[in-house]
Amino acid sequence: MAATPETPAPGKPTGLWPAAQAPAAATPAPDQSKSDLISLPSGAELDESGAAKLAAAKPVRLIVTTGPVDAGKTTLLTSLYELFQSAPVANHLFAGSLTLPAFEKRCHLSRTASGADSPDTPRTPFGDTKYLHLAVCSGSSPKTCLDLLFTDVSGEAFERAKDSTAECERLSFLKRADHLLMLLDGEKLVRDDKRWATAQDSTTLLQSFLDSGMLAARCMVKVVFSKYDCLLAAAADKESCETFWAATKKKFETKFGNRLASLQFAEIAARPKRSTALDFGHRLPELLTEWVALSPRSRLMDFEPQVNLPMRESEAFAARHFNRLTAS
């Protein structure tokens, strides 16, 4: 779906919550004094101010999805939401959302109510950073709940960030990311003419994130082969695709393995269209489980000595001390 380009003001950072905590530009409120109506929250995607307000009220986990235009970033989020429509996901219960209409709007083109013949996702317009919210609870006892915030940013912003560290510095939400997903468009990874550039663009983007100092050292990075059904459907080239993907993973590890707290890989098919071998939301439950279970912040708070390491206490102290400095 074509999007109307919307360019943010030059130099304006997108996604820095502390700055957003300053009073937002006043929106003229409807005069309710004479009305019998009370306005309710719009339920639209959250802006910086809304995300900051939520983060101030309760601990949230920020999941940043990155990748070029049409890599499947928004579809990943809508498919996760759709999974909850029919059942708990990986033993996690849907516990609420401040952005239900925003999810619904994004799901519209994938539902029969749209009248469309094949499922689609509206393209996220280029502009200010937006967030979608999902609260989940463990299905087992004792009940623990968690608020997840997902960025919904146009791929164009990441294409710019790849080419310019100055542009990258505008993506200040990166500094707060707990989990970062780098989506590589599977539709391109299975094509001989596209795969090299696709992989190259992703490594360049991650390089830009790191060299600009925007990515917190604690952030857990996952490089994702999206639209994995494309690989299964590419019967003739399947082996070469797999070889290429293995080589790409190795390249990421070589280049960034020692610069990141965690670097992992995954293959997902949020809405498989080309193969019946994969279920809807393939591997999304596993991703959700990781987002819920693994918190880089809580890991940093673990100051207990690691008794299994053959290390003197003074060395252990130094290691913890420098880890904290690196992380901050």
């Binding site: 019998d36 309710l40 929250p41 909850f84 209409p101 499922p119």
Partner: protein
């Protein structure tokens, strides 16, 4: 005047889900001496015109008039419980459209908010025949899927209709209505909520309990309620307040039944299936 604090119970639900029919049947049941209801009619006080009107239509097996938008009928019943204590119940009966508008227009009326502030609990009505389901295209028709798999990526946005919030899934709208309640500044958890699956006679053949039906048919709402059990204390009932299809051609037996025996209530710990007041006990004790 009564010397006890009235209990205000909200009737919640999207349009045409059986809120007013329930109220009409309830008004009859509490007055029907043949039904040993746990709450019995004590005396008339104030204006009973609205209750009498809807109850009359219900007795005649005529469709109970729907509430126009932006009107709120306040029904009052002065009852006594098994111990002889007086219980005054107030039911602000809003139109279902006003709940749809909460979702689609993001507004609620001050009178509803005031009722919410004073409410002891609520009854959330869901009609099994009126559910809007989130049907994904990929699950709808295998032929469509097959065609989509082989076809080049088509720009369906041109042929798709615009998103209409009112066509959003029922369970999503209901979750939002409950979130609106729990996000009000004056909200005091836990809010006691009876989930009323209306027209139960039409789905009783599936042999599910009301709770099982809710889990299967509205899983998102069910998950939300399980996750938020500290905010909403819920119990799920199946209710057939109308007793069956009103069309005489389709259901000639209905008019022959005594009105109280048309009613059915199904749920955990329901002792008398014709006693609708059993569904109120958990809200007012």
């Amino acid at each position: 005047m009564t010397d006890h604090a009235p209990k205000r119970l909200l009737l919640l639900g999207l349009p045409d889900t059986g809120k007013t029919t329930f109220l009409a049947a309830l008004w009859h049941i509490v007055q029907d001496t043949d039904i040993a209801s746990s709450l019995q009619f004590e005396k008339l006080e104030g204006d009973s015109k609205y209750l009498n009107q809807i109850s009359k239509a219900w007795l005649e097996c005529s469709p109970v008039a729907r509430n126009p938008l932006d009107t709120e009928n306040l029904a009052q019943m002065i009852l006594k419980n098994g111990e002889g204590d007086l219980v005054t119940l107030l039911f602000p009966d809003l139109s279902g459209e006003s709940f749809t508008l909460q979702w689609s227009n993001r507004q609620l009326t001050k009178t509803y908010d005031q009722s919410l502030r004073q409410a002891t609990g609520g009854l959330l009505f869901i009609h099994p025949g009126k559910l809007k389901k989130p049907v994904r295209i990929d699950t709808a028709d295998p032929l469509v899927q097959e065609a989509a798999r082989g076809a080049p990526h088509a720009d369906d946005a041109n042929t798709a209709v615009q998103w209409d919030p009112e066509k959003s899934p029922t369970q999503v709208q209901l979750v939002e209505i409950l979130q609106f309640i729990s996000h009000r500044d004056h909200f005091q958890p836990p809010f006691r909520l009876a989930i009323m699956i209306s027209a139960w006679d039409t789905i009783a053949r599936f042999k599910d309990t009301p709770q099982q039906w809710l889990s299967k048919r509205l899983p998102l709402l069910d998950q939300f309620l399980r996750s938020n059990d500290d905010s909403f204390q819920t119990i799920v009932y199946g209710v057939s307040a109308q007793g069956g299809e009103y069309s005489a051609a389709k259901n000639p037996e209905l008019l022959k039944k005594s009105p109280g025996n048309r009613v059915q209530l199904v749920g955990e710990n329901v002792k008398n299936p014709h006693d609708l007041t059993e569904s109120l006990k958990c809200l007012i004790t």
